[in-house]
């Protein structure tokens, strides 16, 4: 348990720091790279939680596809901007709101789940494996799955339609 705990904290600190940099960085490419860090961290956390299929998917999909997409986005919208322009005029209220939200959330969480433990045992491993997830996905959740695939298709077409140069 201790090993996982140590791993969690290290990764968590890295993720938190990276996340903060994502929203404060003055360089678009840097921000994207920090985002990738966070995403990889999340993938690692999933594996700590013995959800290996989700972790791997996260890694491939996000780090492989989404991050690349972002980089493309940065390239095509490269605007002549001063670094200071990256934030708008409601920076401070935004900070206040997010801090307030964080405080409320943390208080709520501690209040609600203060003593709950996650037990990382073999039976947990069993439900995180590909076959378990796959079974569930294609039996119980087959209709939502199909719907999501339709959605993806629609989003694909939509993205093309929107971004197409007429």
């Amino acid at each position: 348990m201790i090993a996982q705990n140590i791993a969690f904290w290290i990764i968590a600190v890295v993720m938190a720091a990276a996340a903060v940099r994502v929203v404060t960085s003055r360089n678009l490419v840097h921000a994207a790279l920090f985002l990738i860090t966070v995403l990889i961290g999340a993938s690692a956390q999933f594996i700590i939680l013995l959800a290996e299929f989700v972790g791997v998917t996260q890694f491939f999909l996000y780090v492989g596809a989404v991050a690349v997409l972002f980089l493309f986005g940065i390239i095509v919208t490269r605007a002549p901007m001063q670094p200071a322009d990256y934030d708008n005029d409601q920076r401070w209220p935004a900070l206040a709101v997010s801090l307030l939200l964080l405080g409320v959330l943390v208080a709520l969480l501690i209040d609600a789940f203060g003593h709950q433990e996650i037990e990382l045992s073999d039976d947990l491993l069993a439900i995180g494996r590909s076959d378990a997830v796959g079974n569930s996905l294609f039996r119980t959740f087959v209709v939502p799955f199909e719907v999501v695939s339709m959605l993806l298709l629609a989003a694909l077409i939509g993205a093309v339609a929107i971004a197409r140069r007429d």
Partner: protein
């Protein structure tokens, strides 16, 4: 391991994302912050999945990942369109809803 350590990490990531969404001007950066929030949700889902020992949470996380991918696709397309029309991805200038 405590359930809360995951949840609080997730809460932190989420709030960071909120800040980013609220305070950033660049459309791409806002989208990135949205990704942060979605990720926070994912962590939550997987943590609870492990906590209640049910695969449902993981399945939902998978769906969220999928939808996030779709969202980035469409979102970037919109940012591209804004950029093309206004010559900048600056969201402050997108105020056609103004009354």
């Amino acid at each position: 391991m405590a359930l809360n350590q995951f949840l609080i990490l997730s809460a932190f990531l989420f709030c960071t994302g909120v800040y980013g969404v609220l305070a950033r001007r660049n459309g791409v950066l806002v989208l990135m912050s949205v990704e942060l929030m979605l990720n926070a949700v994912n962590i939550n889902l997987v943590a609870f999945s492990a906590f209640v020992r049910d695969v449902g949470g993981q399945i939902f996380a998978l769906f969220v990942i999928t939808i996030a991918a779709a969202e980035v696709g469409v979102g970037l397309a919109i940012v591209l369109l804004i950029y093309r029309n206004l010559d900048s991805p600056d969201l402050d200038r997108v105020d056609q809803l103004k009354g």
